[in-house]
């Protein structure tokens, strides 16, 4: 009976530290505007006024819509483009394949800050400054997605591909009716990670957005703060910005944790 009591006590304490700030965020967001709040005193009543106030601001809704577009379009585009590339990387022989794979792998070792200024020059030359194109397209080059999918497709049994060939299926047929369905579990996991990466992304959306209407939630949140709004509204905005991620996390955490344990994806 005594065994495991200390680990449980320590884990309970550290879990409280991990979750505590979210509780603080929620409590402050739900507290009436002028009431003295934690850490000094617990609020005596709750209200949705702050949340309603934030949601009624035009620019906040715009930022939310931008973030949804940024995340959802990126998920679809990354999954499609990298699964196509991963298929030929895994199943075809062609000159320069290894070189190409290595150079893609090498891009994961480059800090994004090093590419920040030149990427902006490229975007300016393309005429994509302050547009959705400029926001989304550069972030679709995702080496981790290609490499993970390639590994998975390579491990699929050869017989499946041989059988399809014998039946006279072309590459598009093989890709659409064999590769995509068989990759469904990896694609689902990748979708979650790419969604979280984009929803939480900050530096690129920050530098690409010149006008208020191009901002994402993370960028908007950082500008809200310098305007020094009431704590209740700031925490309401933070709550709304974080809610989708926390929901995705609560629903899929078992799946996410398993993926990290097996592949190390997400570092």
């Amino acid at each position: 009976m005594r065994r495991g009591v200390w680990p449980a006590v320590l884990l309970t304490l550290s879990s409280l530290v991990a979750v505590g700030p979210f509780v603080v965020m929620l409590v402050v967001a739900l507290s009436p505007g002028n009431a003295p709040t934690i850490p000094y005193r617990l609020p005596t009543s709750f209200t949705l006024d702050n949340l309603a106030e934030v949601l009624s601001t035009g620019s906040f809704l715009r930022w939310t819509a931008n973030t949804v577009v940024y995340s959802v379009v990126s998920v679809v585009a990354v999954l499609l483009s990298s699964s196509m590339a991963a298929y030929v990387f895994a199943r075809k022989r062609f000159g320069g394949r290894e070189v190409l794979l290595w150079s893609m792998l090498s891009t994961t070792m480059v800090p994004f800050q090093a590419l920040l200024m030149p990427s902006l020059v490229v975007i300016a030359r393309l005429g994509w400054s302050d547009t959705y194109w400029g926001l989304i397209v550069p972030t679709l080059a995702n080496a981790q997605a290609v490499l993970l999918l390639r590994q998975f497709i390579r491990a699929l049994p050869d017989e499946v591909f041989d059988a399809a060939r014998v039946d006279g299926a072309g590459d598009w047929r093989v890709y659409l009716s064999i590769v995509l369905p068989l990759c469904r579990p990896v694609l689902a996991t990748l979708a979650v990670f790419v969604f979280l990466w984009h929803w939480n992304d900050f530096l690129w959306p920050l530098v690409i957005a010149r006008s208020d209407s191009m901002r994402t939630l993370t960028v908007g949140l950082s500008t809200l703060e310098s305007g020094n709004p009431a704590a209740g509204e700031l925490m309401s905005a933070a709550t709304i910005a974080g809610l989708p991620c926390l929901l995705v996390f609560v629903v899929l955490q078992r799946h996410l944790t398993k993926t990290i344990s097996f592949t190390g994806l997400g570092g």
């Binding site: 700030p21 200024m117 030149p118 925490m235 933070a238």
Partner: protein, 271 residues
């Protein structure tokens, strides 16, 4: 004919990824070096200036202090992350019940953004004045970073612990090894690859710390939290010194490469 068709298919399947990487990874990689040896004006005009940007960085007190600040951040963040992650992973392994719940709670901060963490923690820390204190601000930022990020390292290490054969730990226990001895002599040697992986990944992340600095301190007070990544942004977007910002970016790139290669060698040796 069949061969041509085949290579055409390969090209078509690769095309989206090839274009994306060429335009937004490989070209900027060359561009970073190119900009760092040039004097780039916002109107698009540029002039080759050789190593001038790097020479001026060598005497630039702001850059040099940002280098020290970044090293200070890494020196707090990486050991703390590994210690907290290892501690919680061992506890998760030892706890007989509620493991899934604890793991979910500890991992939750990882799912949110650094911006959100920064906003919430800045508000929580407001009464303490830590963020206004020149010698406390950096450790405080590192602790917030650890709070946000240790869950990932914890999962990797926890998976490593589960791969240690149970009979090894059992045998050590039967031989009368204490919990500390079992950790030190059985678990840690077995965890070496996982710890290595975590150290490399977290070091790379720590050198690039930006979001929390931007949101919580803006590099202050008195540049006490002015990191390299923040310097790239500041030079580029406040001073409009594109060449200088690119040179700092390339310096950061070189440092990250050097550090991860050194770590690889250090861990590659047999124990």
């Amino acid at each position: 004919m069949a061969r041509l068709r085949e290579s055409l298919t390969v090209l078509v399947f690769l095309l989206p990824v090839l274009v994306l990487f060429a335009l937004f990874r490989f070209l900027p990689m060359l561009g970073a070096v190119g900009l760092s040896v040039s004097d780039y004006r916002l109107d698009g005009e540029w002039r080759f200036v050789g190593a001038a940007n790097y020479r001026s960085l060598a005497h630039d007190e702001i850059f040099l202090s940002s280098l020290r600040t970044t090293l200070g951040y890494v020196a707090v963040y990486v050991p703390l992350t590994v210690a907290v992650a290892l501690g919680t992973a061992v506890l998760l392994h030892a706890v007989p019940w509620g493991r899934g719940l604890f793991r979910a709670a500890l991992f939750a901060p990882y799912a949110t953004s650094l911006v959100l963490s920064g906003v919430v923690w800045r508000w929580v820390l407001e009464p303490t004045g830590f963020l206004q204190h020149p010698s406390l601000v950096l450790p405080t930022l590192a602790v917030v970073g650890v709070w946000k990020g240790f869950g990932y390292a914890m999962l990797v290490l926890f998976a490593g612990i589960r791969n240690v054969p149970a009979d090894c730990l059992e045998a050590a226990k039967v031989d009368g090894a204490s919990a500390w001895q079992r950790l030190r002599h059985v678990l840690l040697p077995a965890l070496r690859p996982a710890v290595f992986f975590v150290v490399v990944v977290e070091t790379m992340a720590a050198f690039q710390v930006f979001d929390t600095v931007y949101v919580m301190t803006g590099g202050g007070p008195m540049r006490a939290s002015y990191t390299l990544a923040y310097a790239v942004y500041d030079y580029g977007f406040r001073y409009f010194d594109v060449g200088g910002a690119a040179a700092i970016g390339v310096a950061l790139w070189a440092i990250v490469l050097l550090v991860s290669l050194t770590q690889r060698r250090a861990f590659g040796r047999n124990p």
